[in-house]
Subunit: 195 residues, 2 copies
DNA sequence: GTTAGCATGTAAGGAGTTACATGATTTT
DNA sequence: AAAATCATGTAACTCCTTACATGCTAAC
């Protein structure tokens, strides 16, 4: 009840993208779906309500170009959204949390996408958390498979092998990234505070 | 409104597993999570309501071992679920549908897992549907990427490349499977009706 | 001048999760 | 005798989708 659970992946993604540059909803959705297109896709039906909520929370502001006219329900035009100072703070807070939300399936991609704005130690903990998570999954499925080795038809087997291989590949990828992060951390540690 | 949309992946998975052998809920969930463990996991909170609904629909029956005692709310014991004839028919119907439900992200794994009970031509159409779906995704993300080549930070790039590679790998996997299916179809076509 | 893409929104609903509640049985 | 795991269930909730509704603007 403390951390305001109602976060969701979308909120972070929207804040992250708006941090790079102000945008209107339609464009935001396109950027969203090229950024995370291989993992998930969002529809307008979730994006616009999310923007509305962020507005209410004061994390973004909207800029309607035709302020002269009366509050028009028709005669639509682009509404450009922009991060507020509070929004930037909130984004930083979200990106500093190295917890399950950052390494579980739903959240990992988005958190990773904004690693450029994340502290090095948090990055490392998220990558390691993700890797343990996947390794746990591998082990649990593998041991269950060993116990139930009986008769499994060839299609089921094919699916399970493909799944295992994909996750193993992901683990190797993570291991490489972790290696790079550590090497980088060592380098900056040897030359302290050079700017 | 015709095909009773309220299907969901769980329903198919439960029917499929119960087709192999009768089981109680707890065991069902374990089998479920080793079958699809690399792709998704289900909780009891969705499994038991699903079983209840299938019971109401007459697709499964429950076998409570202690029928002697009064309808006991306490004193729990295993409840073994079993497919009815109607349930088997329904399962066959679900497995014969070579539509989006079978090749989109949510459904593909489960449909594939039960390919052993699926007609060869349906298998082929599902595999091809899945492949086109992934190829569309690749193309749409790649072309969007080409248009927005500007400045993307190295983490975003890393994520996108990894995503692209994973999906490309899946496409190659599907292509191989399609090849095998076709070869098999040719073989059985040359020697018609040998049993 | 009409199709395609740009642009914003809402209402209803679906599929599943979390957290809770309870108790039996097996292992250590 | 304590801890782990087996076993069944419910209520509240969350995040997101689908389908709808509307209209502008660029390309062909």
């Amino acid at each position: 009840m403390s951390t305001r659970k109602g976060a969701g992946v979308l909120e972070l993604a929207v804040l992250g993208l708006l941090h790079e540059s102000p945008m209107h909803g339609y464009e935001l959705r396109k950027r969203l779906n090229t950024l995370l297109g291989m993992f998930r896709a969002f529809s307008y039906g979730s994006l616009y309500p999310c923007l509305k909520q962020l507005l209410v929370q004061g994390l973004i502001t909207e800029d309607r170009p035709d302020e002269d006219a009366r509050t028009l329900p028709s005669g639509r035009s682009k509404i450009v959204y922009k991060l507020t100072a509070e929004g930037k703070e909130h984004l930083q807070r979200l990106l500093s949390e190295a917890g399950p939300a950052a390494w579980e399936d739903e959240g990992f991609g988005v958190h990773f996408a904004f690693f450029a704005h994340t502290h090095a130690d948090v990055r490392l903990r998220i990558l390691e958390g993700r890797r343990s998570r996947l390794e746990e999954r591998l082990e649990s499925v593998r041991s269950a498979l060993a116990r139930t080795r009986e008769r499994v038809d060839s299609y089921t087997l094919e699916l399970q092998n493909h799944g295992l291989e994909s996750v193993e590949r992901d683990v190797r990828w993570l291991t490489e990234l972790i290696g790079r992060e550590r090497a980088q951390a060592d380098q900056t540690a040897q030359q302290p505070q050079e700017l």
